[in-house]
């Protein structure tokens, strides 16, 4: 085996071990009690899911409005659908609030007087 091959293989091994073990070394340094902090800044799964559901619901509301403006819905049907969607959106927002998250723009609208 050539020297170059050995050198490159060892370098590769070092890189691989470094990359893979970084989280493990980081966790060991912080100690077991602080383990949560590594993903404390990330949203909890429930919150993340609710936020995704909220995005989807906002999109549905906009889609319904576009459907109405492009002539696919009668005013009565649009009102009915829009109302139902808004109620569903509010329910999601309440669940987000209960789960401890913030809806974007809350501070802004509160600062501007709501």
């Amino acid at each position: 085996m050539e020297i170059l091959t050995i050198v490159l293989a060892l370098a590769l091994l070092a890189v691989v071990i470094g990359v893979i073990s970084a989280p493990l070394r980081g966790a060991a340094k912080r100690g077991a009690t602080d383990g949560d902090r590594s993903h404390g800044s990330d949203p909890s799964p429930e919150l993340s899911e609710l936020e995704a559901a909220r995005e989807a619901k906002y999109r549905e509301i906009r889609d319904a409005e576009l459907d109405f403006r492009t002539g696919k819905l009668s005013p009565e049907d649009y009102e009915a659908i829009d109302g139902a969607l808004r109620a569903e959106a509010l329910e999601i927002l309440e669940r987000i609030a209960r789960a401890g998250g913030e809806a974007p723009g809350v501070e802004n609208s509160a600062a501007r007087g709501g």
């Binding site: 590769l12 990330d42 999109r59 009668s74």
Partner: protein
């Protein structure tokens, strides 16, 4: 250096095994550092395989014939461009390409979701590394790219001349990217089922990867069709060949999934269906990869021994069994939250679209695997040909195009019947005008083609109306001038209008397919110089023969020794339309038994077609010159007898001159296909529309929209 490659493979396998263990442990115990380590194992895998791939690629570019793969598929006379592509022309090289692309795409996907969906992503990591381990194990134990022979051979066999076409560079990497990208939604679906989190978060992540898979696979398929048409000597772009079908099937289920996912997003239903579609897409992608290398089905592509058959069948069985088990055991969690509100809703249309797409996939599946099915059921192997495929896929394709024209005018959730009826008037009118024009122009006798043209007209009318109405609505709100309104409309509703553009592209593509298959003129004829023939409305004259002697590189840069062809003049009603120069390339066979001169031209002969492409039609031609006339054969025999190997090339010059002086009649294959170009144009439109649909809106816009929606939602509550 081959040692480095072997070390890489071994290290890669170890990293895969570690990553699977770390990810599963991290998911089950909740210890994030292990899931993170598992994810980083994928990054490490990408690094290792990049090194391995580089080792192989460098070996090809340096003509290192110690590598068996290089000696088998490359040579000093293979042009550099094709030496680089020859890496993936062999079984072992293509396995490395597959594994490498898998590691790259998986790294990207896992990087993008690194902060969310931790449990799901951890299981997905394990699944992806499982695939990686499988392919790497295949390379280590069955077909290694780093096998060497000693002493080093002086020259290699050379890349099969049939593969010396530019598309060879791009089609396999594109197609393999499509296949490997299909495994990512598969892995995330498995992860979601294992973690019991099939929810909105999963939808958001999976949609992006499923779309990328759909895009690359679609481009790969189109490139394959284009290669077949523009570079091979056959003249067609789709033959319902087993390998073509194998790549189309996951694309169809992927398309169905992208649509039905929207239903799940809105109504919380079809969860079982969606998960099954994703799992099926991944499994079909693996089956497609397997088909090319197993020889279980007769096809132009799939040959060679069944050495890899057993491992692949095992993998596919595991995938299918695992998928079924997971779906069945999680069925409580996958129960629908709501139902479809009304039959007259876009959700319904999407459901119908799904049924048609899955139906198409079933037809193609049945026809492709029929030899195996019939062997299993009746003991005799039999196969069905293109006419059978056409009989069932054409009506389904018509239905698909029709649905894509109806969908845009139907609202989500519950459309108003009166409005829907009114909105269908304009598109129907457009379709009727098209019908009348076509019949009036004398086009008849091809009902399916005409039906497809009318359906496409319907789609264009429907979508055109949508753009018009949308821009008008926007102008009413913002007062912008029309072009600005149109742009703003698309930018703020990318998914909808990007999707509309995709459907326009599909309609255009099918118009091209229908026209070029139903109204094609083809002929096979033998011509001598000076003679002419008629194809369709064109007159083709064989003006004179051509010959190129190229010991090293030829005009087409493919490395042929001798190239014989013809100059053809194509005219229509007396006006010159195009000059075509088809030729046949003769290559070195490397077999001394054929004689010093004989072996120079005794290798694989490859047809280089010549084509005049146009917006309304393509004129395509291939030539099969007669190189076996007594006069020409005499030159070869005399050369074999009298010339030593290093002077044999002189005889090639004599051959060329003799051919030019007294050319025998040559066989010509001539095809005039209308509207073929629109297939590629349609594909480009699909690609562009898809990019628009998936392009994330700038986050500032998203926040503005979110704030406004929240304020409106609050107002709604106050009103109620």
């Amino acid at each position: 250096m081959a040692d480095l490659g072997r070390i890489c493979l071994l290290l890669a396998l170890l990293v895969c095994v570690y990553g699977i263990g770390a990810s599963v442990y991290g998911a089950r115990s909740g210890r994030v550092e292990f899931s993170d380590s598992g994810r980083r194992a994928v990054y490490a895998l990408a690094i290792i395989l990049t090194v391995a791939f580089a080792v192989l690629e460098i070996a090809f570019l340096r003509d290192d014939f110690a590598f068996n793969t290089v000696a088998d598929t490359s040579s000093r006379t293979t042009p550099a461009f094709y030496r680089a592509a020859a890496v993936w022309s062999s079984q072992e090289g293509s396995l490395l390409l597959w594994a490498w692309l898998l590691s790259l795409w998986s790294s990207l996907a896992l990087f993008l979701v690194r902060r969310r969906m931790r449990e799901v992503a951890a299981y997905a990591t394990a699944v992806l590394l499982g695939f990686g381990a499988f392919f790497i194990a295949l390379m280590i134990f069955y077909a290694t790219p780093f096998a060497t022979t000693s002493p080093t051979p002086a020259e290699g066999v050379g890349l099969d001349p049939l593969l010396r076409f530019p598309t060879m560079m791009i089609h396999p990497p594109m197609l393999y990217s499509g296949y490997t990208l299909c495994t990512i939604p598969f892995a995330f679906a498995m992860g979601a089922l294992l973690a019991r989190r099939v929810d909105a978060d999963w939808i958001r992540a999976t949609r992006r990867f499923a779309f990328a898979a759909w895009l690359f696979l679609g481009v790969g398929i189109l490139l394959g069709a284009r290669w077949s048409y523009a570079e091979l000597g056959w003249g067609g772009y789709w033959g319902w060949d087993a390998v073509e079908n194998a790549s189309l099937m996951p694309w169809l289920t992927g398309t169905a999934f992208l649509h039905s996912l929207m239903i799940q997003e809105k109504r919380g239903m079809l969860k079982v269906w969606n998960v099954s579609l994703v799992l099926a897409t991944g499994t079909l992608a693996i089956m497609g990869t397997f088909l090319v290398r197993s020889g279980i089905l007769n096809s132009i592509h799939a040959f060679g021994g069944a050495t890899l058959g057993v491992p692949f069948v095992t993998l596919i069985a595991v995938l299918i069994a695992g998928s079924i088990y997971l779906v069945v055991s999680r069925r409580e969690m996958l129960r629908s939250e709501h139902r479809i509100d009304s039959l007259l809703s876009r959700e319904s249309i999407f459901l119908a679209n799904n049924v048609v797409l899955v139906g198409l996939c079933f037809v193609i599946f049945w026809g492709t695997y029929f030899p195996l099915i019939s062997e299993a059921l009746t003991g005799h192997e039999a196969s069905v040909g293109p006419p059978w495929f056409d009989r069932y896929t054409v009506p389904l394709a018509l239905l698909l195009v029709l649905l894509s024209g109806i969908g845009p005018v139907i609202a989500w959730r519950r459309a108003t019947l009166a409005n829907a009826r009114r909105n269908l008037v304009a598109p129907t009118l457009v379709a009727l005008i098209a019908l009348v024009s076509l019949l009036g122009a004398g086009l008849s006798g091809k009902p399916f083609a005409i039906a497809m043209f009318c359906c496409a007209a319907f789609v264009l009318g429907s979508i055109g109306q949508e753009f018009f109405r949308g821009a008008r609505a926007r102008r009413a709100m913002s007062g912008e001038p029309a072009p600005v309104a149109l742009l703003a409309l698309v930018r703020r509703n990318r998914r909808r209008y990007g999707g509309y553009i995709v459907h326009v592209g599909i309609a255009v593509l099918f118009v091209g397919v229908a026209a070029s298959s139903s109204f094609q003129h083809a002929s096979e004829v033998g011509l001598s110089p000076g003679k002419s023939t008629h194809v369709g409305a064109y007159k083709v004259t064989y003006v004179r023969p051509t010959a190129t002697v190229t010991p090293r590189n030829d005009v087409a840069h493919t490395g042929s020794t001798l190239s014989l062809g013809a100059l053809l003049d194509v005219s229509k009603r007396g006006h010159h339309v195009a000059t075509l120069r088809p030729s046949q390339g003769y290559y070195d066979s490397g077999e001394p038994s054929q004689g010093s001169v004989g072996h120079l031209i005794g290798g694989q002969a490859v047809s280089h077609i010549s084509m005049s492409g146009g917006v309304t039609r393509d004129v395509w031609t291939a030539i099969a010159p007669n190189i076996s006339t007594p006069a020409l054969q005499r030159i070869v025999t005399v050369g074999n007898r009298t010339l030593p190997p290093d002077e044999a090339e002189v005889a090639i010059g004599f051959l060329a001159r003799a051919y030019l002086k007294d050319p025998p009649p040559a066989q010509f294959h001539l095809i005039v296909s209308p509207l073929v170009m629109w297939i590629w144009i349609g594909g480009a439109i699909v690609f562009g529309g898809g990019l628009i649909a998936i392009w994330p809106a700038p986050s500032a816009v998203r926040r503005r929209v979110a704030m406004r929606s929240r304020a409106r939602a609050a107002h709604g509550l106050a009103r109620a």
